[in-house]
Amino acid sequence: MNTHPDEASAALSDIQSRQERVIRAAHIPVWYWWAVAVGMVVIGAAADTRRPVVLAVVIPIAGLCIAALTVAMILGVGRGARIRSNELLRGRGAVVIVFFDWLIVGLTLGLAFGLKAAGAPHPATIATGVGGVLLGLSGPAVTRTLNKIMLSNRAGMSQW
């Protein structure tokens, strides 16, 4: 092995650059957040109808659509690669995801119950609408945060 330090350094930089590109290529698209937001509003509107048939049909279908989209995102469908998210995100990524999910769910439920207590019409629709807009607007920021975490955990970064 007669590798010059400059060559080794260039190889390490290239490795990081390649990994950065694949991580960025496999990021969660913006439309995903808005699609989930639409699903939330559909569920909220169905809940406001209070009609058992609507609740029994619409909520499971919307829930399944959101779940299917989420699984497709995790599996990297249509993006050419499935990144090693468990290894790259580690604990910090999980904390960001759980905190964000609970924040949106908590705000939406809190607002819905608050509106209902205040006697507002269509409380679930309004609350999920607000929660959906928050999700759509802040989702890309979560994607950027997760990307940053993954980039900081790519090969060799922990040593420098």
Binding site: T3, P5, A8, L12, I15, A25, A81, R84, W160
Partner: protein, 106 residues
């Protein structure tokens, strides 16, 4: 992503084209042939040749499937390939560290 791994310079991985392929695959569970080809900027035949070499060494697993009626080829690093890559990264880091130089992460 790489814990302090025992350093082992790997001559098979080190050539720039193969290192680019393996580095890309190391960040992924799997990657489509098309994505690898576009990222590494190789022709189909050149990439096939490199992947076959890596597969022959037990570093890469190539998977062929169909999405609808369209054939789809994807590749992933095997456990052996991942260990070789991590050892190679550690070896490169050692070379840099021994020289007293530092690498500023991009």
């Amino acid at each position: 992503m790489v814990s302090r791994q025992s350093a082992k310079f790997d001559e098979l991985i080190h050539p720039p084209t193969r290192l680019a392929i393996v580095a890309l695959l190391a960040a992924a569970e799997w990657a489509d042939f098309k994505l690898i080809r576009d990222e590494v900027r190789l022709s189909d035949s050149a990439l096939s040749k490199q992947l076959t070499t890596l597969e022959g060494a037990g570093y890469v697993e190539i998977r062929k499937s169909f999405v609808g009626k369209r054939p789809r080829t994807s590749a992933r690093l095997t456990r052996t390939g991942r260990a070789a890559f991590q050892g190679h990264v550690a070896a490169l880091q050692e070379i840099v560290e021994r020289s007293g130089a530092t690498v500023i992460p991009r």
